[in-house]
Amino acid sequence: MMNKKTLITIMFVFAITISWSQSKTITNILNFKMQNSGAIMDNNNDVDGYYMFYQVDKVNRKEREYAINFLDQNLNDVATKKFIERKGTRLLSTSFNNQATMLAFLNVKEKQLVLKTFDKQANEKDDVVIQLDKKVYRTINILSLQGMLPNILFPVDNKGFILNYKTIKDKKVINKVAFYPTNGGDYWEKEFDFVKGKIQTIIPLTTKDDYFILVESLARGTKVNINTNVINVNTGKEIFVSLYDVNEPKLISNSFITPEGNIAILGQYYEANAKIAKHESLGLFVTTYSPDGKVISESKMSWAVDVNAKLKIRRNSKMEDVGYIFFHDIIRTRAGDYYAIGEQYKKTANAGGIALGVLSAALGGGVQTTGYTQLTIKDAYVFKFNKDFQLKDIEVFEKGKSRVPNLYDFGSPQLNAFQIKAVGGFDYVFSQIDEEKDRFYANFVDYERLKDENNKFAFKTIIHDEGELSEDKIYLPNRRRKVITRPLPGKLGHVLIFEYNRKEKSAYLHLEKLNIE
């Protein structure tokens, strides 16, 4: 719990400049620039701290002095470390594994990935430098400049970090994951074979105990195959692979290690030969594997039978009066129950888009290909399953309607939802899991339309505690006011409220605890 009032760019050592503000000549002699800032998170989306990355000085034609300023989870300034790197170095990703903090930088001039590690005493360890191929570098550079580079660093608690990147092998771009130990263990790497004609994406799901679980997605158009790999995180050796079965397509969204040490994989299942990025799913599933890859159990929950008993199903996953539900996360509690967190959506006509299309046509303009349709996103749905994956309850948490124009008007509502999800169009932000207290927080940003009152933006969280779900919300001031407010990721069970005063150009940050009555 904290508050900080400070000038936004001056959280670093340069409070000094303020003391010299009486003299312009003096103030201008310093020439530092803030490059970027963000949260440092762990496996459970728990914020362990924040960083601010600065360019401090020009050392020579080629090199620059940089500084990274670490704040703890309560925003206390705990360390400022300086280092020299090539001009144009960019910070891509940060991670914390309870033993160390790792930062991934892109050295633009040398086309290198530079991994910097700071131990628990804030001492800098030896850098890891990875030479990138031109093609790979170009992709990383463009995506990072567009702010679309996915996270490439994953913490393995008390063991090390996994870097997920692309490299070149036999002149082909392939995917690779590499493990950098922080516990004295051994380095390992795993390369994924090139698959002609398909876009291969590696998505790490879980790193826990001795396991590293990832999915390999192979896409061609809307046809996507998803394989699941379970790797021994200590050695890099593959434990088992669960290959995509066209007769039983599955979209895997989550995994975890059960208290018995088994591996559970969760997601949605489809009818045989379905295209999972296009077709409607038949329901949700959970498959449990033994540590050597044998299927111990598989449970399914179907829309048609199980959900229909609680909500009226029109066809497949489309529910009467509800539309569809997009599941963002599936969380398992200590009691063995599962909670699937989703949002209700419908594909609707976009009145503005249609009007624009008519106007465009009347004016003799080109063909408008997008904007006629939109996704109308409404309430949050939480499905509760027991340990055998039998649907026990569905709880609906009311939210205001959000309308997001579809990126493409063609395709199924599911495909549109996937596209909207990819660009962060849903109200869902992220979930945090508090393993110690057996709680989770599913966070949303909501726009409430209120009777006899101005509409309000709210940060809304659904909290699971002691087997019950409750809701808490924080209203955020209207965006037109002189103070702009944004909810940002905070430490477990908290939200960081960022208030920016446009007039005073000052920022005010305070952590607020999310309430359980």
Binding site: A15, I16, T25, N31, Q121, A122, H510
Partner: protein, 450 residues
């Protein structure tokens, strides 16, 4: 961080008397605010007219900022206005003035800052400030009188305005300007050289600060010596202030005892500490400046040694109303803290009194009940984080940090249950207190609702 931003600019115009440190119903505004501001305006204008520095514009800008800051503090409820405290302080001041007729006391304004941090300050514009925390720290009136003498000495020696003048002159000197220009012209290593240059200037200015503190001690002692107070108490007051340089909040609150109830037992995990990114005891900073050179005040031992040369005589300290005033100030301080939502400090002081002596007045019990009722309200409305400072793994103030950690660890339901259990347990002691009755009722309703 707040400290850096707030303290450094103040260095330009204010001498913190004695290192650093933060109020029954409390008035945060004087009855005559307009006329008070008018007097401050007049003093300000008079001071503008007396600027002799070649760089008049720059000096004027600092005076203007100082004046605006003071008026803003008056409007921001930083000061408290209390007849009893003012009368008491005026009686001490009168003794000082009577013994030292050469003091130019016209338009002097002494304000009480609600801060619990023991400190006093001279602003250089005939305005002085005494933090309520200072009264709580000191042991007798004699010590308090010495500190007032020290602050008056700062004014008489024109330390604040002279410091502004000296700094502006220095910053506009040919040598400084040409060095700054040279650094600015550098293509490479500009910030590194710039920081080194600023460091030298800062150290030089702060060294001067430390020198004038010794001067204020010396002249302040001359004023003090002419009164009938015990001379030796001057050194004792410095010693007390020196002791809080390391840690201010010295009492460890036994939360698991004072907040343990049969109806709602204390839970160990309410005291769980947070882990941090780094296992370090102090901030790691590659740009760190020498801490000793950044001190605004000389070491206490050095100050005591300097006063020793003036051979302070020991005499009996007369028993007066100081302890009564101190008790009154504690009440005022806790009420002001609750009014301003500073519930961490309010809980610390109230529980510290309760654990120190079970026979303390019902006031402190009443306040604890009020604190939990207010804490519930602020937490419920997500406003508690705005009013309670951050938990820190690096702070030397472990005791107040533990209170903050405890508050942070509590869930909403814990707050209402602890508050209610506390009221049930201490109802007999505090039932006559209106604040207790109101808080008890509120907490009872909250618990019955669930």
């Amino acid at each position: 961080m707040i400290k850096k931003i707030v303290v450094i600019p103040i260095l330009f115009f204010c001498f913190f008397g004695y290192s650093q440190k933060d109020s029954l119903s409390v008035a945060f505004e004087p009855k005559n605010l307009d006329s008070l501001v008018k007097v401050l305006d007049l003093v300000y204008e008079g001071q503008l007219a007396s600027i002799e520095n070649k760089n008049r514009k720059q000096v004027k800008r600092i005076y203007k900022q100082r004046h605006e800051d003071l008026v803003e503090m008056l409007n921001d409820s930083i000061f408290i206005f209390d007849h009893k405290l003012e009368s008491y302080q005026n009686s001490i001041l009168q003794k000082i003035y009577d013994a030292n007729p050469e003091i130019d006391k016209e338009d002097f304004k002494f304000l009480f800052n609600r801060s619990v941090i023991p400190n006093a300050a001279c602003f250089g514009d005939k305005t002085f400030m005494v933090n309520l925390g200072l009264i709580s720290l000191l042991e007798n009136e004699d010590q308090y009188a010495f500190i007032l003498c020290h602050e008056i000495a700062h004014y008489q020696l024109n330390h604040v305005n002279q410091s502004i003048d000296d700094r502006i002159t220095k910053l506009n000197s040919k040598q400084v300007l040409s060095e700054a220009r040279e650094i600015k012209r550098k293509k490479y290593g500009r910030t590194t050289e710039g920081m080194s240059f600023l460091k030298d200037l800062t150290f030089d200015f702060l060294k001067h600060n430390r020198e004038v503190e010794i001067q204020a001690d010396s002249l302040g002692f001359q004023y003090f010596r002419k009164t009938k107070y015990s001379e030796i108490e001057s050194q004792r007051s410095l010693k007390l202030l020196g002791e809080i340089e390391e840690v201010i909040f010295k009492d460890s609150i036994r939360l698991s005892e004072v907040l343990n109830f049969e109806t709602y037992p204390f839970k160990k995990y309410w005291l769980n500490k947070e882990k941090s990114l780094f296992d370090i005891k102090e901030k790691v900073d590659d740009y760190e400046w020498d801490k000793d050179s950044l001190k605004t005040h000389p070491d206490t031992d050095l100050r005591i040694l300097s006063l020793n040369k003036l051979k302070p005589q020991e005499s009996n300290v007369k028993k007066g109303v100081f302890s009564e005033i101190q008790k009154y100030t504690n009440y005022k301080t806790i009420n002001a803290l609750i009014d301003m939502n500073q519930l961490d400090f309010a809980l610390y002081y109230s529980l510290s009194k309760i654990q120190e002596n079970n026979k303390v007045t019902p006031f402190y019990y009443s306040k604890v009940a009020q604190i939990f009722a207010k804490m519930y309200d602020l937490r419920k409305n997500h406003k508690l984080g705005k009013s309670i400072p951050a938990i820190s793994t690096l702070t030397k103030e472990k005791n107040i940090n533990e209170i903050r950690q405890f508050i942070n660890n509590l869930e909403l339901k814990n707050i209402r249950k602890i508050g209610y259990a506390f009221c049930l347990k201490h109802e007999e002691i505090a039932k006559e207190e209106t604040d207790f009755q109101n808080a008890f009722e509120e907490l009872k309703q909250l618990n019955n609702k669930q």
